[in-house]
C-alpha cells in the first residue's frame, strides 16, 4: 500500500469557471409562493447561490481541510483519499469514520479535532483517538471505482485494508447514512479487528430475520410504517433515481452548479434538524464546502452510482445471526426516523443508547460536540 501526503489545491481556472457558470445560471420559473412545496425554492436557491458566488471563500475552506493531515493510499488500483489525524493523548484509540450521501469527508471537519485532541475542547486526553476519515470510492478526492460492483461491503473491505496498512490491528468504527452501512459491514466481516461500532443511523436496508424471533413490538411496527410512509412521500425519491438510472441524472448535476446545489441542499434541508431553514443547523460555509467538493472533484455521478451498486446487497441477516462488536447508538431526535432500541438489538449488541433532543441526519455537522462526547463515552470502557 502506497501512502502519500495530500494537499488539496483546486486550480484557479476551476474556480473562475465555477463563478462564470454561476453567473450564467438559467433559473427555472417557480409557480407559486409556497416555498419548497415542489422541491428546492427559487428564492432560497438564488440566495444561497449568490452567497456561493459572492461571499463564500473556497481558499478558506481549502485551508480548513488542509489544516488536518490528508493522505492518499492506493489499494488494488483504487486511490483513496483520507484524513489521518493523530490523537493527542497517552494512548489514542484508532477510529475510522465513514461518511454518506449527500455528505462527504467535509461532514467530519468539526468532529475530527474533537476526537483527536479532546483536551482542546474541554475533554480528557485519555479519550483521544487517531482519526481516519476516508472519502468513499467515487466521492470527493477518492477515485471513482474502475469496475462495477463497488458495494458498501467492498468499501468496508478496502477500509479494513487501509487500517491494516496504517498498522492498526484493532480499532473503532463510526458512521451515519452510507457510513453506517459500511461500518456495519466492517463489524460483520472483520469483527476481530473492530473494538466497537458507533452509529448515528441504522441503515435503511437493515433487515433482521424474523424466524424464531420475537414478534414486533408496537414501536417496531410504528417505525416500519413510518419508514414506508417516508419512502412513499418523497423523502426518499432521490433513492429511486440513484438506484436505477443514476448516470442519467448525473449529466445535469455535473454540468450545472445550481443544479448540483439544489439536488444536494434540498436533501440537507429535508433531513437536517433545521425546521426548514438549513443555516440554523449547518453554516452556509460548511454546506457550500461540501457542495464545492462535489463540484470541483466532478464526483456526483460516481457518488450516486453507489445506490445502484448497493441495491443487490442489503444488510439482511440470517436467523440468529448477530454482530459481535458492541454497539453505541446516538439517537438524534431530528433524524429521519429513530428506530426503537429493540429493533436494533435484534442483531446488534446494544451497549449504549443515547437520545439527543436536538440534531438530525448530519450529526457530525449539526452537533459535533454532542456526537464527539458520545463517541468518547462509548469507547472509554472498550479501550
Amino acid at each position: 500500500m502506497k501512502i502519500q501526503p495530500f494537499t488539496l489545491h483546486v486550480d484557479e481556472t476551476a474556480i473562475v469557471d465555477l463563478h462564470q457558470r454561476l453567473d450564467r445560471s438559467r433559473w427555472p420559473d417557480e409557480l407559486d409562493a409556497e416555498p419548497w412545496s415542489y422541491g428546492a425554492s427559487l428564492s432560497d436557491m438564488r440566495r444561497i447561490t449568490a452567497y456561493w458566488r459572492e461571499q463564500f471563500d473556497w481558499r478558506a475552506a481549502e485551508a480548513d481541510i488542509n489544516a488536518l493531515a490528508n493522505f492518499t493510499a492506493e489499494i488494488d488500483g483504487q486511490l483513496l483519499h483520507f484524513i489521518h489525524e493523530r490523537g493527542s493523548g497517552p494512548a489514542p484509540l484508532p477510529i475510522i469514520i465513514s461518511h454518506g450521501w449527500p455528505g462527504s469527508f467535509v461532514e467530519m471537519l468539526d468532529l475530527v479535532p474533537r476526537l483527536a485532541d479532546p483536551a482542546r475542547f474541554g475533554g480528557d486526553p485519555a479519550d483521544a483517538f487517531d482519526v481516519i476519515v476516508p472519502s468513499l470510492p467515487g466521492f470527493g478526492f477518492s477515485d471513482p471505482p474502475k469496475r462495477p460492483g463497488m458495494t458498501p461491503r467492498q468499501m468496508a473491505a478496502l477500509f479494513a485494508r487501509l487500517m491494516a496498512g496504517l498498522g492498526y490491528a484493532s480499532y473503532g468504527v463510526q458512521g451515519g447514512d452510507w457510513g453506517a452501512t459500511i461500518s456495519t459491514w466492517l463489524a460483520r466481516d472483520v469483527p476481530d479487528h473492530v473494538k466497537g461500532i458507533h452509529l448515528n443511523w441504522i441503515p435503511g436496508s437493515y433487515l433482521p430475520s424474523t424466524e424464531g424471533a420475537p414478534d414486533f413490538s408496537p414501536a417496531e411496527r410504528a417505525f416500519q410504517a413510518k419508514m414506508a410512509a417516508e419512502a412513499a412521500t418523497g423523502v426518499s425519491t432521490h433513492v429511486g433515481i440513484h438506484a436505477s438510472r443514476p448516470q442519467t441524472l448525473g449529466y445535469a448535476l455535473n454540468d450545472s452548479p445550481v443544479g448540483l446545489a439544489a439536488w444536494l441542499i434540498d436533501k440537507f434541508r429535508m433531513i437536517a434538524d433545521c425546521g426548514g431553514e438549513i443555516e440554523t443547523a449547518i453554516s452556509l460555509d460548511r454546506l457550500l464546502t461540501n457542495v464545492s467538493v462535489y463540484w470541483f472533484s466532478g464526483s456526483i455521478t460516481s457518488a450516486i452510482r453507489l445506490y445502484r451498486e448497493a441495491r443487490p446487497e442489503p444488510l439482511k441477516f440470517a436467523p440468529g445471526e448477530r454482530i459481535r462488536p458492541p454497539l453505541g447508538f446516538a439517537a438524534f431526535a431530528g433524524e429521519v426516523a429513530v428506530p426503537p432500541r429493540e429493533w436494533v438489538a435484534r442483531v446488534y449488541d446494544v451497549q449504549r443508547w443515547t437520545a439527543f433532543a436536538k440534531g438530525g441526519h448530519f450529526a457530525a455537522m449539526e452537533q459535533p460536540q454532542a456526537l464527539a462526547e458520545d463517541i468518547r463515552a462509548f469507547f472509554r470502557p472498550l479501550r
Binding site: 433559473w27 422541491g39 428546492a40 433515481i241 438510472r245 445535469a252 454540468d255 439536488w263 455521478t301
Partner: protein
Amino acid sequence: MIEPFEVHIADDVLDDLKARLRRTRLAPDFANDDWEYGTNAAYLRELLAYWETGFDWRAQEREINAFAQFRTMIDDVPVHFIHERGRGPNPMPLIMTHGWPWTFWDLQKVIRPLADPASFGGDPADAFDVVVPSLPGFGFSTPLTVPNINFVRTADIWRVLMRDVLGYQKFAAQGGDFGAYVTAQIGHKYAADVFGIHVHLIGPLGMIRGNMPDDSVFAAEEKHWIATNAHFFAVEGGYSNLQGTKPQTLAYGLNDSPAGLAAWLLEKRRRWSDCGGDVETRFSKDDLLTNFTLYWATESFGTSARFYAEARRNPWSPAHDRRPVVEAPTAILLFDKDIVKLPRKWAEGYYNLQRWNVPKTGGHFVPMEEPEVLIDDLRAFFRPYR
C-alpha cells in the same frame, strides 16, 4: 381571443445554447455500454457534438411553421395549438394530445394524412379537422403560471378549446401517454360531447398502482405483460416518483444544462421505444434534437415535470359513478412493446370498448414510431361515427 402563432426562437437563445454545449462538463461514465446505469456517455457526446455543430434548428422551425398555429388563453392557461383543416366532404374535428417527454411535434407525421387523406392515398371521406395542442406548461403553452393544472384540468380546458374557442359542438379525441389520460377523462366527463375516443395507453384515471388489475385478469397472450409492467414500475419508474414529488429540484439542473436535459429526455426515447437498443432506428438525431431544443428554448422542463406532481396532488375524482367509467365509445391501440399494458378484460369493464388492436412492433412513441398504424386505426375506428 385567438392569435396566429409562428415559432421563432431568438438567435441569442440558440447562440447561448451552442455556447453551453461547447462548455459541457460531461460526467464520466464507465461499464455502461448497455445503458443500465442510465444514459451512455459515448452516445450522448456524439449527439451533443451534432447539436452544437451540425443540427439546423431553423430548418426544423420552417417545418413546424408550415402548419397553421395559434395561441389563446383559457382559464389563465396559455394554450398553443396546431389547427389543420380537413380536406374532404365532411371533416370530423379531432383533438390529439401528446405526452411527456413529448411535445406537440411528436404528432408531426400524422397531422397531414389525417387532415387530407386523398393526398396520402386515402379516402377524402375520412378527413379530420386536426387540432394538436401543447399540454399546459409544455412547449409553447408557456409560461404556465397557475398551479394545479394536471390531466384532469387539461380535459376541461380542451373542451373549452374545441367547443367555445373553435366552435366544434361534438368532436373526436385521441392521445397517448399523459395525452391518453386527458383523452380518457374527456371520454369520462364529457362523453356526450365526443363521437368517441382513441388511446394508445390505458390505465385507471386514479393512477393508483393498487388499482391495477390482478394477474389472473391477463389473458394467455397478455401474460408476458405482467413481468414487463412490474419491471417498468421497479426499474424505470424513478423519474416518475421524482417528477411527481420534487420537479423543481430537478429543474435547476435541467434548465441550466442542455447536456443534462438531453440525457434525461434521451434515456426515455431509447428505453421506451421499440428500438432494440439503437435509438436511431426509431428517431433520427434531428428528431431527437428538435424535441430537446423545444424543451430547452421554451424553458418548459420544470412545468412539464410538474404535470406529474399536479396529478398526485390533485387526485382524480369521478364526475359520475356509472360504469363503464369511460362512457364514450373507445378504441384502444396497445403496442406490445409499450411500457405498461393492461389486459383487454380489464379495459372492457373500464371503457366503452369498441375496438382493440395490439400491434406486435412499435413502442411508446406511437405517432413517431408507427404513424401509419395509428392513422389507419383512427380512420377505421371513427368511420362509423361520422
